[in-house]
């Protein structure tokens, strides 16, 4: 005789939606969804009503209209006759330019400062502590304005370079002029045949990568270690230099020269760009320095000792044992520092650098009076940049992450 009975089929009661854990999560989600939709609908209906009251519509047609303003630095062809779209694109490229340069310099500064802060040299470690603490604890906007003030107030005017005994002189053997109108650096000029040099250079980069793989496989097979560094350096320099001389030196440098009241030739880097670039780099570099320091400290001393006990040389210990483990700690905060730098580049407005904020979110917005479209578009672009950077760095993070099995 079986004692088990089928559970009685309960009829569904409405109160189960709240008190039965099987249904409750569904209820909460539906309520949350409805609430979210309601709020969204409320915002949109408000916006529609407000736009109607102002007699405005919502379209992005203004992007194809002539912009009518100048942008003092553009990486692509731009004139005041170009469209607002092109103006925004110019601004976006300027943002990306300063973000890209900033990330590189910030990494270099941060790594150097972070390592030196751990150095046994008392004086250097203290100096780096002062650098890190002073940059970390003062707003980046102040640094941007201060760097700009240094560049515009404390540097000589171009006409100070003139005459037999000029008050100011160019740096680096007369190739670089720092003036209050900007910095002039040599500009590479590309003559016929220079494309060959570039192609050879790119090919040699691929060659270095291929050689690295070959030498790693060879080491795994035979245990022999090739003099990797020297061979890679040779691949880097020799083919490019050969191509350079064979093609008859097609790549030259155009040096800036003082003509009249200003420098001519060379590449003119505006003070706004340099101030923004340096301030963002040094500010973010201070944070990166702390991340690097934390990463190195996070690798326990036993790892170094174990590597020495295995007879691995100090340089290889650093490269093969310490760095891979430290990088795992350093990379995630480094990603967010890069993101911060990119977002902080929107402070360019303080020094008049024409970035996305100053073109699309500044002059275009003011000229067309389309706040809603401009702001939404700008937020969207920043969001996409952020997501791209973080996903790219996450891919890299995955490759250095501890492989757990």
């Amino acid at each position: 005789m079986t004692t088990t009975t089928d559970p009685t089929k309960e009829s569904f009661r409405l109160s189960q939606l709240i008190y039965d854990t099987r249904y409750r999560s569904m209820t909460i989600q539906v309520v949350a969804m409805i609430g979210f939709m309601a709020m969204f609908a409320w915002l949109i209906s408000n916006t529609v009503a407000n736009l109607q009251a102002l007699g405005k519509d919502f379209n992005f047609g203004f992007l194809t209209v002539r912009a009518g303003y100048d942008i003092n630095q553009s990486l692509i062809e731009y004139s005041s006759n170009s469209t607002h779209f092109r103006a925004s694109l110019t601004g976006l490229l300027n943002t990306l330019l300063v973000a890209f340069l900033g990330c590189i310099l910030a990494t270099v500064v941060g790594v150097i400062a972070g390592v030196l802060r751990l150095s046994k040299n008392w004086l250097t470690a203290r100096l780096m502590t002062v650098y890190v603490e002073s940059f970390r604890n003062i707003p980046v906007l102040l640094w941007i304005i201060a760097f700009f003030a240094v560049l515009t107030e404390a540097t000589p005017a171009p006409n100070a370079f003139r005459g037999e005994a000029p008050e100011a002189s160019m740096w680096l053997n007369g190739t670089l002029a720092v003036t209050n109108r900007g910095t002039y650096v040599p500009n590479p000029t590309w003559h016929a045949g220079s494309s060959v040099v570039v192609v050879v250079f790119l090919a040699s980069i691929i060659g270095i990568w291929a050689f690295g793989r070959y030498s790693a496989r060879r080491q795994e097979r035979t245990g022999e270690i090739l003099p990797n560094v020297w061979i890679k350096l040779a691949i880097f320099f020799v083919p490019t230099l050969l191509a350079y001389f064979i093609m008859g030196r097609p790549v030259g440098l155009d040096y800036p020269e003082l003509q009249g009241f200003n420098f001519q030739g060379g590449l003119h880097l505006r003070n706004s760009l340099i101030a923004l670039w340096l301030a963002l780099s040094f500010y973010t570099g201070a944070f990166i320095a702390e991340n690097v320091r934390a990463g190195i400290l996070a690798v326990s001393k036993g790892q170094t000792e174990a590597a020495y006990a295995l007879g691995i040389r100090p340089s290889r210990t650093m490269r093969l044992v310490i760095l891979p483990q430290a990088l795992r700690v350093i990379i995630p905060p480094l990603i967010s520092q890069y993101l911060n730098l990119t977002k902080n580049s929107s402070l360019a407005i303080a020094v008049g650098y024409m970035d996305l904020r100053s073109t699309l979110g500044g002059i275009t917005l003011n000229q067309t009076g389309r706040e809603l479209e401009c702001m939404l578009l700008m937020m969207l672009i920043y969001l996409i940049i952020s997501l791209l950077i973080s996903s790219a760095m996450n891919v890299y993070n995955k490759s250095v992450k501890l492989k757990e099995r």
């Binding site: 709240i18 999560s25 909460i28 989600q29 949350a32 969804m33 979210f36 915002l43 408000n46 916006t47 009503a49 407000n50 736009l51 009251a53 030196l116 150095s119 046994k120 040299n121 008392w122 004086l123 250097t124 100096l127 603490e133 002073s134 970390r136 604890n137 003062i138 707003p139 980046v140 906007l141 102040l142 304005i145 201060a146 003030a149 107030e153 993101l339 977002k343 902080n344 929107s346 402070l347 407005i349 303080a350 904020r357 979110g361 917005l365 706040e371 809603l372 702001m375 700008m378 937020m379 920043y382 969001l383 952020s386 997501l387």
Partner: protein, 436 residues
Amino acid sequence: MSDLHAHNLAFVRDKMLPESEPPITERGAVKWVRENLFSGYLNSILTVVSIYVIYVILSHILPWLLNSVWVANSLEECRQIRDTVNEGEPSACFAVITERWKQLLYGFYPAESYWRANLSFVLLFVALAPILFDNLPRKLLWFSGLYPFLAFWLIWGGSIWLPISVLAGFVIAYVAFNLLERFGGLAGAIAAFVVPILWWLFLAGPVADAIHSILPIGMEVANSKQIGGFMISVIIGLAGIVLSLPIGIVLALGRQSDLFIVKTICVGFIEFIRGVPLITLLFTASLLLNYFLPPGTNFDIVLRVVIMVTLFAAAYMAETIRGGLAALPKGQYEAADSLGLDYWKAQRLIIMPQALKISIPGIVNNFIGLFKDTTLVIFIGIFDMLGLTNTIRASTEWNGVYWELFIFVALVFWICCFGMSRYSQWLERKLQTEHR
């Protein structure tokens, strides 16, 4: 053999020699210098480079600082003093600070009301003390709860009944919860949520006005436009961080939850806010907020900024608290479940106290970041310290003063931020030892 002893052997010393000092290179300052500054090639190069860098910086700044002029009425006068007294040596003109420091701290706040700002600043520390240091009497937390309303009244002035009637909303929420709880916990929770909102939206203002007309107690109203300088940074920073804490907790829990829709909404919000620069949110506050709210709504710019800054800080706060939640061992969650606690009880009694404790240093760091970011409000026409440096430079007397103002602003920020970061490090160490 037995008579071989030290006293009858000429070549065995029977007296201890006095200890001689270690060689000069192995003691005192010389040893320290050798070990810390010149222990190898690289180290020596670093030392020389460091000394050079320090020399360059100091040689430029020190004379300028030492010759500084502290009393003058204009930059012109400063330069005259420099030329006559200091013989044309470069000299800082800190007279601008002596004359304008009040403006840098308070903005255009009326001078006869400075005591109100000062009082609320002092009371701030009384309110913060029980939160920051856990060995103070817990009763003080009541004052911390009342403080925001008190500070609002002190700074903005006006009728005292407005903050009191807003405060009454919480009392009403408590009463409503107790009344309706007998119909079930959910009804109580909904009542505690809905009733005060209705109160604040429709009744709080008229009731305050009504009481004020009967019993007028109040102070002179200070306009938001008058508030500036260091004061506005503190107000926006503190309001942002305090208001963002509850929102951040909810967002963090939402992000950790199993409910797909709730999780998606929370992740979307957090990633959106973290993906755009604060400055775009501030522009939204000044340009777009009017579009999103019912037609005809128009309110104070400082309040708008506080709303946007709160949303901004909430996203970062959520990530910090999520870190705290993730750092808790899984056993804590399982222990709470095995005790039969429901989700909210488990969060309130087991998870949150520990997770929040772990994330306090992160929260303080968030606050430092937010405090520094309050300088961005100059772009939407609020005069914080950095904005006021422009105002001061715009006057004829001080046209051309840069560094003295920057140094003052930087110093104020540095002291605040460095102090807070030291506090957070201290806290981190303290919390660490408790876990061992």
